[in-house]
């Protein structure tokens, strides 16, 4: 069936809740309202208030309670309304969620999935456009996932819910409804920890994820028309990272561009660029280029264009790579 990412995620949730009655949803406005983006639309009516629970407005409480729910045998899928509001839960995530398995040498685990809308590009209110995945990709024990299309969104979320590790599942708001695609009705898993080459190319590699994939595709198409063949690696799982797929591509093309919408300094692009420079230095015919937002706070909507990476900026960078 043709569907948007919102529908695909909704279907993944409904499917897993049907399959496994330990799976439950909690968060702010996830119930009767169906979530501010309607991602949980209809689930409250279908599964009732004990499986789809509106919580008090308290993110640390939501994640903390989810840890307790998981330890006591349930499979919570917690929604944080926007990534900009996950910070109050940071202590629960860093000090407990990510560490519980290690702290108890496996006696207790917290297979919790935290879903949250993520990223800019939709001219949202202040604090509603955060893309701080870099904060979470340096936390041992935590898995960080970002889908770039409806098909992956469904399969990755199902894999996350069925997995044994805590997962931060970042949903690019810009892609929620921007494009539709064919998505199988039945449940399926897209394996975690595996990047995907979503466009084959010979001359340069763009490593990206989430809402930057369409931007990368646009730039790649433009480059093609200028005779440059660009390969695109969709990281999909940001942490633990699939370095193999990235290095394989870069060793082939000899040129690498890392693209993300978060600010440059300390962003995940640094880890990727460092990895390439460490492990593929001799294959590089040009330095790795990072195309990112500048090192500033996400501006309010009227100035978003000064922050958000554009296909044009990516194209210029590709040319620079080729001309080096």
């Amino acid at each position: 069936m043709i569907m948007t990412m919102v529908q695909a995620i909704n279907q993944a949730l409904a499917g897993e809740m049907t399959r496994d009655d330990r799976v439950l949803i909690l968060g702010e406005d996830v119930g009767r309202d169906g979530g501010v983006f309607r991602v949980t639309d209809g689930l409250f009516d279908k599964f009732g208030p004990d499986r789809v629970m509106d919580t008090p407005l308290a993110e640390s409480g939501i994640v903390g309670a989810s840890i307790g729910l998981a330890v006591a045998g349930l499979r919570p899928v917690a929604e944080i309304q926007f990534m900009g509001f996950i910070y109050p839960a940071f202590n629960q995530i860093v000090s407990h969620l990510a560490r519980l398995r290690n702290r108890t040498r496996g006696r207790f685990t917290a297979p919790v999935v935290i879903r949250t809308p993520y990223g800019a590009g939709v001219k949202a209110l202040e604090h509603h456009s955060e893309s701080t995945e870099g904060l979470f990709c340096q936390i041992p024990g935590l898995t960080v996932v970002v889908p770039s299309n409806p098909h992956d969104a469904k399969g990755l979320l199902i894999a996350a819910i069925r997995g044994q590790d805590p997962v931060l599942f970042l949903e690019p708001t810009k892609l929620y409804r921007s494009d539709k695609m064919e998505v199988p009705e039945e449940p399926y898993e897209v394996p975690l920890r595996q990047a995907a080459v979503v466009r084959e190319g010979r001359d340069a590699t763009i490593v990206a994820w989430g809402a930057m994939i369409p931007v990368a595709r646009e730039a790649a198409a433009a480059a093609e028309s200028q005779g440059t063949s660009v390969e695109i690696v969709d990281l999909r799982t940001l942490s633990p990272m699939d370095r193999e797929t990235v290095l394989l591509s870069v060793r082939k093309t000899g040129r690498a561009l890392v693209l993300h919408e978060a600010p440059k300094t300390g962003g995940l692009g640094a880890e990727i660029a460092a990895t390439i420079a460490e492990s593929a230095l001799l294959s590089l015919s040009a330095p790795v280029i990072r195309v990112t937002a500048p090192d500033i706070t996400v501006p309010l909507p009227k100035s978003e264009d000064l922050y958000y990476p554009s296909a044009d900026r990516v194209l210029r960078a590709v040319r620079k790579l080729m001309e080096y």
Binding site: D54, P56, L57, K123, S303, L306
Partner: protein, 359 residues
């Protein structure tokens, strides 16, 4: 007066009854001009709020959180404040902003998507709006502690919603205030919903005012649709705070008549009847009746106010929309006191990549 209404006994402070008649023993005793001013502020607030919604539908405004129904709470609390006091607002406080003299053009400019609109004019002690719910509360406690330590005499008013009381920052902020006996007035605008989540889901405590018991200072629930009740309670709490009596928690019991924001559809989670019931309790209507009883209201007066409000609002829209867009410098310059070389280089590179007109 506040101590006469014990939230643990379910008591709530009203000055005006539904018919707009005031209880003599509770009436704050404002003169005619002041009473008329309260009404005028509420009328302006409603006009400015309605215009914002209109602009949003026309795509001239970003997502917006309307204040419809909150006018008495907003105007009442701000009218009790003086120049020495500080205000830490939340995101649904239009009437308080206007009452305190914040330029409507700036307010619009921010909600249109420009940081410049958050730049409080010099001389006004209004902290930038907190979008992360409840995060302003410990900040307000700290500011009040500073006023106390510096013996500056003012007090700090901070607002938040019923949902805000569930956050850890609500607890940490009020607890700090209790421990340091800071000059704070905590105003919880309980409109009975946090987006779609009803008040009953937010906390099992019978009232939100009673949460003050946990912090060792008084709490009171007031009728948030009664501008005189809100005014009287906040004025008394401010006097207590300024005189070293410590903080007060005031729960203004009201109802959000509009959607949570322009991105919300309240009909998904609220019955039409309930909304209509509260429309009958419109705070402007009730206060107009009060003015009528006092012979302070007439059709002509109303027309005059409406016309003035409309002109005031149109003027602000024109001003806000005439403002130049932020330049790349504007967007980069305030990240640090002085711009690091790398950031300057990023700015230069960005400008190069921009079309002429945008540099």
């Amino acid at each position: 007066m506040i101590e006469r209404f014990d939230p643990l006994k379910g008591e709530r402070l009203h000055v005006l009854d539904e018919g707009g008649r005031s209880a003599p023993d509770l009436d704050p005793g404002l003169d005619d001009a002041s009473l008329r001013a309260l009404y005028e502020r509420m009328v302006r607030t409603r006009a400015a709020d309605a215009k914002a919604l209109k602009l949003q539908r026309q795509g001239r405004f970003g997502t917006y959180a309307p204040s419809l129904g909150h006018e008495a709470a907003q105007v009442g609390l701000a009218s009790a404040m003086t120049k020495d006091d500080w205000f830490f607002p939340y995101f649904r406080d239009l009437g308080a902003y206007l009452t305190l003299g914040y330029p409507l053009a700036d307010y619009y400019h921010f909600w249109m998507g420009n940081e410049a609109g958050l730049r409080t004019p010099d001389g006004l002690n209004i902290f930038p709006v907190a979008i992360p719910v409840a995060s302003q509360i410990p900040q307000a406690a700290g500011a009040a502690l500073a006023l106390k330590l510096r013996k500056l005499g003012g007090a700090v008013v901070v607002t938040f919603g019923d949902g805000g009381t569930s956050e850890g920052d609500f607890h940490e902020g009020l607890n700090f205030a209790g421990v340091f006996r800071t000059p704070n007035v905590f105003v919880c605008v309980n409109n009975q919903f946090a987006i779609s989540v009803p008040r009953s889901r937010q906390s099992a405590s019978a009232t939100l005012a009673q949460k003050a018991v946990a912090y060792g200072f008084p709490g009171v629930q007031v009728d948030g649709n009664d501008v005189l009740a809100v005014f009287a309670a906040v004025r008394e709490a401010l006097a207590t705070a300024r005189s070293g009596g410590g903080p007060t928690l005031i729960e203004a019991f009201t109802y959000r008549l509009g959607d949570h924001t322009t991105a919300d559809d309240a009909s998904r989670y609220r019955a039409k009847e309930e909304v209509q019931e509260w429309e009958r309790r419109d705070p402007l209507l009730r206060f107009r009746l009060h003015l009528e009883h006092k012979g302070l209201w007439s059709e002509a007066f109303e027309k005059e106010l409406q016309a003035a409000a409309a002109a005031f609002v149109d003027q602000a829209v024109a001003e806000a929309e005439a403002r130049p867009a932020a330049t790349p410098e504007d967007v980069f310059a305030s990240t640090y006191a002085t711009m690091p070389p790398d950031l300057a280089a990023q700015l230069a590179a960005l400008k190069e990549s921009l079309p002429e007109g945008r540099r």
